[in-house]
């Protein structure tokens, strides 16, 4: 019984907020939305202890021999994802009440947020690829609506559109993937597909192709190399939105898809390798860009992209458990960091440039405390969450079947850079003197409580998936997800697990100290910029990727449209339509020549007619 409640609660919240109680104030709308989110979180908890019987489903439509059903079920993987989504979702709803208090029509924001939650849950809980695709599209729509929430500002509206279009490109690939899957397995249900993969053998090339197209869908949604450009621009939306959608939930949909279809990806080795390569290169690229960003939210956005790159590295190497574990931990500390930056921005009345902040330690003590915990977690310092999940990924990369060591080294470099730029942001915002002209003040309680809860989460989350090697705690997560994701593959890499952990920890500590050394004192904060001068401009301009896309794709496309609009349509199509009328006019003007107006020409025609008449009448007679 819990499943329908899980889905219905956010939907009802969205409808109530959006359509019925429209002129509500921000507080009232926020409370309703949060209640809806909390009920769905509660139903997830209850679901764990009293699971439903079978999948909750009813038929949607039947075409030919394919009957598509709305069916929602819960298995350990779905449960875990629902827990993360609804948990962090409700925390962010509570946080938004405070954050959106001065907005005059916030009911629209809360309606979209609830609707987003509903779509995310549909995506996670549906048992068929098509159901997932519906959720997938709904989530894309909500992210567009929320990014473009302040649509009066043309740039924010453009950012919304950009996100939507790039996602759509990914979704197109996902759709093609679904078609190929249907072509191969004649069914879209995950369980049946998994069973078929075990029993029957399919053409490997087709499997690779299906996996490749599904991965394109994942790339679009989880912002990997070619389609990541929308995530940094998505920061145009309100900060809680960035926190919820672009840190915790939506971006992880791609990873959830691949974990759900792990059977297929295990067989399609070439695609998995491809995923790994794409993952690590995205991670490296965005980490480098993050080091030189001025806007606090842009830094966090690029760090999200690089963490996602690491997750995809894990998926590429077959470590689905590591990826999911990192998804969970990353959700906690990244949401924490985003909400922290949100309260900083809230305090500095919308100022986002870290070079205009500083010395906020004294003015925002609790935000400072939680932000520091988040930074330590993401840097990967033990015993916090980031260390365990990142280490599991690095170890799995190390023990991967091909190129293991190179992946591990690059992974190490990425985590080093992550630590460095996070400490840079932390130092520039909180240490030193205040460089801005605003007068910041501490955020209200509703914003701080979620920060503390998330801080506690990012400390504890790590202990759920501790590797056996440390003999401290059993790996609960591995036991819990074993039936869905299959056994943890024991590979042998260049180093043993403990030694790999040690190396990672040392590199993280060095990065933190380096970052602290440079950015704690204002006079020394310019030096890294001077050292890396040639690279700095490259990083700042985001490797000119946006400009490249504009040049390569947008401009020729515009040219093509212009060609059709200006030349092809008016001349060819209109020309054809007008042809008969012009022909008639031409004919008319010809006949006019006959009418000279002079009587004698008419007489001539008359006599000629007479002659013809005679000829006809006297045909037989020979003159």
């Amino acid at each position: 019984m819990m499943m329908p409640l899980l889905l219905a609660a956010p939907l009802i919240g969205a409808i109530v907020n959006g359509l019925i109680l429209r002129p509500a104030t921000a507080k009232r709308a926020g409370v309703i939305a949060s209640i809806a989110a909390l009920t769905s979180f509660a139903s997830v908890m209850v679901q764990h202890f009293a699971p439903d019987a079978g999948p909750f489903e009813w038929t949607w439509f039947t075409v030919g021999e394919l009957t598509v059903k709305w069916s929602f079920a819960s298995d350990p993987l779905t449960w875990m994802m629902c827990a993360v989504v609804t948990g962090i979702g409700s925390l962010i709803h509570i946080y938004s009440i405070g954050y959106m208090s001065h907005e005059h029509n916030a009911y629209r924001y809360f309606a979209y947020l609830n609707f987003f939650l509903f779509n995310m849950l549909v995506l996670i809980t549906s048992t068929s690829l098509l159901g997932m695709f519906v959720g997938w599209e709904g989530v894309g729509l909500c992210s567009y609506l929320l990014i473009g929430y302040w649509f009066e500002d043309i740039n924010k509206a453009k950012a919304g559109m950009k996100a939507f279009i790039v996602n759509r490109i990914g979704d197109a690939g996902f759709l093609i993937g679904i078609f190929i899957c249907y072509q191969l397995f004649k069914t879209l249900n995950f369980a049946e597909i998994a069973k078929l993969l075990d029993t029957q053998t399919f053409d490997v090339r087709m499997l690779n192709l299906a996996a490749f197209f599904l991965f394109i869908g994942a790339m679009g949604k989880s912002a990997q190399i070619p389609l990541y450009v929308w995530l940094p621009d998505a920061m145009a939306g309100p900060t809680p939105v960035s926190a919820l959608i672009h840190a915790a939930t939506m971006v992880t949909a791609g990873i959830y898809l691949i974990c759900r279809m792990n059977g297929l990806f295990l067989v399609a080795q070439d695609t998995s390798l491809f995923i790994a390569i794409i993952g690590i290169s995205t991670a490296l690229l965005s980490a480098l860009i993050a080091t030189s960003q001025r806007d606090i939210k842009k830094v966090l956005a690029y760090s999200t992209v690089s963490q996602l790159g690491l997750m995809f590295l894990a998926l590429g190497c077959g470590a689905y458990l590591a990826a999911i574990f990192h998804v969970m931990t990353h959700a906690f500390f990244k949401a924490l960091l985003f909400l922290g930056s949100g309260s900083v921005i809230h305090a500095c009345e919308g100022e986002q440039d870290i070079w205009k902040m500083g010395g906020l330690k004294k003015k925002l003590p609790s935000t400072f405390l939680t932000f520091t915990i988040g930074t330590i977690a993401i840097a990967g310092i033990p015993p916090l969450a980031g260390f365990f999940s990142k280490d599991m990924i690095l170890y799995s990369a190390l023990t991967a079947k091909s190129y293991g060591t190179t992946f591990w080294i690059l992974g190490l470099l990425v985590s080093f850079l992550t630590a460095f730029y996070m400490v840079r942001v932390w130092a520039l915002t909180f240490l030193g003197e205040y460089r801005g002209d605003k007068h910041p003040h501490e955020s209200p309680a509703t914003m701080l409580i979620p920060l503390y809860i998330l801080a506690f989460g990012s400390i504890v989350a790590g202990f759920l998936g501790m590797p056996e090697g440390l003999h401290l705690l059993p790996n609960y997560l591995e036991a819990f997800l074993h039936p869905v994701l299959g056994p943890l593959v024991e590979g042998h890499g260049a180093l043993s697990e403990e030694r790999a952990m040690a190396v990672a920890t040392v590199s993280a500590i060095i990065a933190c100290s380096l970052g602290f050394y440079f950015y704690s004192k204002p006079e020394r904060s310019e030096t890294p910029g001077k050292i890396l001068v040639p690279f700095k401009t490259v990083f700042e301009n985001k490797f000119w990727v946006d400009e490249l896309y504009g040049l390569v794709i947008v401009k020729p496309f515009d040219a093509l449209c212009a060609f059709f609009a200006k030349f092809f349509d008016p001349n060819i199509i209109d020309g054809l339509v007008l042809l008969p009328s012009k022909a008639a006019q031409g004919m008319g003007s010809l006949l006019v020549l006959l009418q000279t107006g002079i009587v004698q020409t008419y007489l001539l025609f008359f006599v000629f007619g007479l002659l013809v008449l005679f000829m006809v009448l006297l045909k037989g007679v020979v003159l």
């Binding site: 006949l591 006019v592 020549l593 006959l594 009418q595 000279t596 107006g597 002079i598 009587v599 004698q600 007489l603 001539l604 006599v607």
Partner: protein, 103 residues
């Protein structure tokens, strides 16, 4: 005087008159001459009728000629009236100047 060796001659002359009249009103530019050539054609027709009446002995041909002559008189009267009006407007009787009614 009653009958000729061949009827051929009168018909030849009559048709020649008709032909001349036809050429006349096609060639000449002067409207009066056009009317005259029409009269010429009518006379050609009269000659044919008289010749037929003479040959067949019936009076119908003669009566028809009388009617044709009266009608021709009326026609010339009106034709010349129109011509005079045209002349008053155009100051010339050249048919090629009366071409306002063209396409």
């Amino acid at each position: 005087m009653s009958n000729f060796s061949s009827v051929y001659w009168t018909q030849f002359i009559a048709i020649a008159l008709i032909g001349l009249g036809m050429v006349g009103f096609l060639i000449r530019r002067n409207a009066i001459v056009v009317l005259m050539s029409i009269e010429l054609m009518l006379n050609g027709v009269n000659l044919l009728l008289i010749e037929a009446a003479h040959r067949s002995g019936s009076a119908d041909g003669t009566m028809l000629v009388v009617f044709i002559i009266t009608i021709a008189a009326g026609e010339v009267a009106v034709g010349l009236g129109i011509l005079l009006n045209l002349y008053r407007i155009k100051h010339s009787s050249d048919t090629e100047l009366y071409k306002e009614l063209q396409g």
